[in-house]
Symmetry: D2
Subunit: 318 residues, 4 copies
């Protein structure tokens, strides 16, 4: 359509990371510009500023270290919402400049989280190699293509990275599937500015950030009961330290269902009443498409019928 520029999308860069792979799964982003950002916060700030339509960032179990940063960046600043989730299988290669053999690898570079996920393979296959931290797996790969220093040294010989990065930078793959846990998956989310959520599909999730009222045993129990009494299951709960003081926590929560579901709405109302702070971070379809199991007592119809009954009581009909 002439005159309508394709949308721009930010992502936690650089190019060649698993996050870019996640962004490539979004059909709407196919023809748009992809803007790599150095940090999750920078990517989200581009969204807030209106410079991009949305940003793809890791939210759970990431190899690039973006998880805590994502949770924290979504918690502070102007509100944003998750509009889509994407799952990416995680697998690493050990890549080097063409001509380097496995026995020539003395120093390996990668993001710290990737190194942690390949620790078993490294200690078995490269027991004498040392580790050099990099800003990302892709940065480690890209660095191998940089001109060497005056002494001819790169500082490291190989990178743990995504297959896409080895390919992009013309590196040779010395070993595939070097991760200790084959089958690992990282969850990414596409984050946009506040907007009506995507329509309900019956297989939805809602993401929240909730501060606890005060102490932990009782307050966390009460928080969970706000979900349980409405029949809303949680699929993820993570505590995050809050502010400076030790012992103050926020909880990052994904629950089943959509803000348009009555049971989810009532749980949100309960949280809003009883928590010092609650931030809604979006309702969106589940990437795995698994429908929410709803009992007869928690359907929209059950809520609607119960509300109509209370209205009748108030009017003296019963």
């Amino acid at each position: 359509m002439p005159g309508v520029p394709p949308a721009r999308y930010a992502f936690l860069g650089p190019e060649g990371t698993f996050t870019e792979a996640a962004l490539r799964q979004v059909p709407a982003a196919e023809h748009g510009d992809h803007v790599p950002c150095a940090t999750v916060g920078a990517a989200l700030d581009l969204v807030r500023a209106g410079d991009v339509a949305a940003a793809m960032v890791p939210i759970e179990n990431s190899v690039e270290g973006g998880v805590s940063a994502t949770l924290d960046a979504l918690s502070a600043g102007d509100p944003l919402v998750v509009v889509r989730e994407v799952l990416v299988p995680i697998t690493f290669v050990l890549a080097a400049r063409p001509g380097t053999g496995l026995d020539g690898v003395r120093v390996v570079s990668s993001h710290a989280h990737a190194q942690a996920q390949c620790r078993g393979w490294l200690s078995e296959n490269l027991p004498h190699a040392t580790y050099l931290p990099a800003l990302s797996t892709a940065a480690a790969a890209a660095g191998l293509t940089a001109p060497a220093g005056h002494d001819g040294a790169l500082g490291y010989d190989a990178a743990l990275c995504a297959p896409i990065a080895a390919h992009r930078y013309g590196l040779e793959v010395l070993a595939e599937h070097v991760e200790d846990n084959p089958g690992a998956v990282t969850r990414f989310v596409l984050v946009g500015r506040p907007a009506p959520p995507p329509p309900r599909t019956g297989a939805d999730k809602t993401t929240l950030l909730v501060h606890l009222a005060d102490d932990h045993a009782g307050a966390l129990l009460e928080l969970l009961e706000q979900f349980a009494t409405r029949g809303v299951n949680l699929t993820r709960i993570e505590s995050r330290p809050r502010g400076d003081a030790l012992g103050q926590y926020a909880f990052s929560i994904d629950c089943e269902g959509h803000v348009e579901d009555e049971r989810v709405a009532e749980a949100l109302i309960g949280l809003h009443r009883t928590s010092p702070f609650v931030r809604y971070l979006g309702s969106y379809p589940r990437a795995d498409g698994r429908p929410t199991e709803v009992t007869t007592s928690t359907t929209d119809g059950a809520f609607t019928a119960a509300r109509a009954w209370v209205s009748r009581l108030r009017e003296g009909r019963s």
Copy 2:
């Protein structure tokens, strides 16, 4: 006002019981007819039939045995609602025909529950007297005025009854305050046909009958959590066997607050969704006038603000 006959009121009779004393506390009933009924069920049926404006019946800790009957009669049949509660201090006298002395009392008659409440006094002061059941304390008193049988025998010599009954039937009081627990109070309720509840006073109660979903440990916990998550306190809970099978219970519940209170409405909605049967039996001012303590998270304002917030989320504003 010419042409408008004063209202009629039923009560668990006969005349001279504590229930009639309760009815006399109701200003609106002052100039109306008072219709004594043989059973609670009969009194409530007069209400259902429109023959009386309302009925006064005992609901808690009664000496006339009406409690279970009241709970059961409110549970079955067409719905009725409590519109007022009345507290009556309970004290008994031992009354006899003029001329009878305490040492002449060989048989004492009264309602079984009254006899139970004076058991200590009787065993101490009339250790050899036997007990004859009567339909009510007042019936026992009234019986003393009946003409004796052909053999000159009444069947009993004295009655345990309310002071009002001794006075009404011209009996002599042999002993006052013969109850074992001085200070006992019985709670009565004025029951009418479904109608909008009396206005909120901030010191209200709501009465409910709720069937449990299935088993008891878990189901009762869940029932109680429907109140707890909305900050609604219970002031009375009584289990009632339900139907034929042992082990099936209904719960008769009084909670603080009024059906117009948002927190009570939401608890009712939760019960309606999760219980196989719930019957609303009215919201009405507390007889003791004690205001409900409401925390900031359970005011109407907290609910209204939370609902407005969810509406904003659904519209994409936050």
Copy 3:
């Protein structure tokens, strides 16, 4: 065995009641004396005094009105324990002197609870008959055999009673199965002095009386959680008003399992710690023989293994 007199057993009399029928089900009582008592309290006092080996009394859903009396009599005074439970199917006959026809019945006598259970039949078949209260169903039956007063009048024409009572007093059965709920069952318990409980069978119950700490919503929730966290299910829970003040409750509870079960013992320990008063009223085999379903986390073995683990931790082994 010469010199060993057979044991004596008390029961809530008089003879011819369902309670006597319950006692007849106890093999050990077959050759002993059966001592009818006027009240549950009197029967239990014979046990406390050592005059009888045990007493049979109704505890749930009784037609003779013994339930509240039993719960209260077990709660006060020296401790006693339930050693056996017995179930008796409840069915009533309308019995009269030989020669009386159904159309000659103007006044029906029975215990108030029996009358309540036959109300439907009476209103349909004897709509004009009035009701005269009796101390028991059997007393109503027995009264029909008494010589009439000087005026030839008995005071009533028929009795609602157990089939056994009609038979015993030579009455004619005018109608059988006149109860409104066919299939009703009453539960009786055999109560003895404190003694080691009968051996575990895997299908046992334990009966308790527990006072609530203070308010009801929270305190009752906490009480129930003492059972729930140990995987102990309740089969009966009944609130009983406590003392004089309205709003103070004790709870009469039957739970699955035996005091020798570790999970029951730990729940009892929790109640003892957190309740102002808890009375143990015995562990005994279930009359219905239904085995308790125990999950792997609540077997004795699970408790023993967990305790051994904690002991090892304390010793620095793990």
Copy 4:
């Protein structure tokens, strides 16, 4: 004492980190060797191998990124126990080679977590500076003392590090207290091989790792109730992803009290029974010395009395 060599202690190195500062607070470690380790796992492996007496590692809110690594390293491998906790106030300096001015700083290096904690200061004071990741704050400081490359370039101009590191490496402090949250504290733990815990002080903590039974809402509620029913408060709870699959969590928990406390022991027994996996990670005095508030229902005496009562019940005494 001749012949007895002073103990050796490992810590998450290198020298000059906040972890070393924590180790210096331990009196017993004063005269022992301090062995810096590259990772938390390496430090704990030295403990497991018996090469050192204990290891100091960060466990909460750390600037060196050791928290998740510590929780994970304590969860896997041979069991270890925390024997002491230490709190260290966290403050950063921006340090450079003598002669470097603030306006000469183009690249800043530090551990990623330290950089995150000074982000506000950096964007305000060094808006154009870029960031280079380092293995630790101390490594960033130490690197400034290394000989420059052939081109005279270090790769970065200044380090965000602990004051102790600037001092140790002879650096010039360009700015003090550059952290965004003054008053932050990091919690460290001294970890040893399994041994009887230090004696109870009345101000103790116990650290645990617990896997959830299955789903999250219900299972986490049940886990928390194992603590709540015994009156044990939590001071920290953190979810940790478990294994490969998304949505499987372990919880790292600190609770008040000592394994020798009866209430803690019973909570542990409950967790052992109901959780698929629970690891005890030690009982030890709280660094802040705050005594645990114990209600009368959760003292050791309350448990002992309750157990004695159950024993009496089993013997038929009551």
